[in-house]
Symmetry: C2
């Protein structure tokens, strides 16, 4: 009997975006059989765009719990564009090799694009023009103007799609019954009045 | 010349809700002339529903920057119902006395209700039935089934209304031009495809 809850990681970078992974992690960590942990390039606290100084559970270098890892969320933020984050690219490569789901939104889709991870899967992001700024991008023909796209184990979403992003994550992780998840999506997309 | 940026506080409690104040604080702290700081009943880090362990900038007891304080955000979370949080009620009383704006959502509206702060202002919240569970609630006739309500210096919203909540906060703080704020609301409410 395995008493260890499967993990979901949220990867925090300097000035990570507060809202983009917020629905996903709150529901997963508080109302499902998964536990959410934070990971980053080092153990220094990572402050969000909104001023939330979050502590880091794991550094990428030390992480070795891949056998219990279900999914990694990469929220956007203000530091993806000006940093190469090679160590994060190596981590994503390892996740792909282990067939672990990856969910990226906003600036983090740009990061995946820049490192070639979106060259062979259908994907979305803030705009095709945004991706065209990334040197060597080869996935133009696979870009779909949508709130969220799921393909090849990668979820991509634009910055306004935090609710849709969470819903696709919930479905892939089977966090609840189809009916409950659908109701959740309806409420949070349309309001609960 | 006053070089101190006016503050906006987000009040964190045990298992604070990640998404409810997320849009508001990210935009305010990163793209306006206000700065966002965290406050709590003590200096112990406060972990969100989603597992974000956030450090605390100010304890309620020590806080004395009221002359530079524009607004306090009270996100919901999983600890508002079972705790009285008398020290937070005293803090809210002080905010009211200083005419400082208060923005509460989800469980935090229940808290305001429980302590009588919603007895004389038009307000909303997750449901009227939810408030009826709060002993001594006298504001039933002022309850409005809406995503967000602004009255008497208090913003109230239900848990699905994080975007509307942020928009009302932005307007009260004048974080940007009317046109930019309206465009932001449109994008985040309807998606940016």
């Amino acid at each position: 009997m395995n008493l260890i809850k499967n993990e979901v990681l949220i990867l925090l970078t300097h000035q990570w975006c507060d809202w983009e992974g917020s629905y996903a992690i709150a529901v997963i960590n508080s109302f499902s059989d998964y536990v959410v942990k934070t990971i980053a390039i080092d153990h220094m606290p990572k402050t969000s765009m909104g001023g939330i100084r979050a502590s880091v559970d794991y550094s990428i270098e030390e992480y070795d719990n891949f056998h219990n890892l279900a999914l990694v969320i990469l929220p956007g933020g203000l530091s993806w564009e000006e940093n190469q984050y090679e160590e994060i690219a190596l981590f994503v490569k390892k996740l792909k090799a282990c067939n672990i789901l990856i969910a990226a939104i906003c600036g983090a889709t740009y990061f995946l694009c820049k490192h070639g991870f979106l060259d062979s899967v259908k994907h979305t992001g803030d705009s095709l023009d945004y991706f065209k700024g990334a040197e060597g991008y080869k996935g133009e023909h696979l870009y779909i103007p949508a709130q969220v796209v799921v393909d090849g184990g990668i979820i991509t979403a634009n910055e306004t799609a935090a609710v849709e992003f969470a819903y696709e994550i919930f479905k892939l992780l089977h966090v609840d019954s189809e009916e409950e998840m659908s109701q959740w999506y309806h409420n949070f997309k349309n309001g609960a009045v």
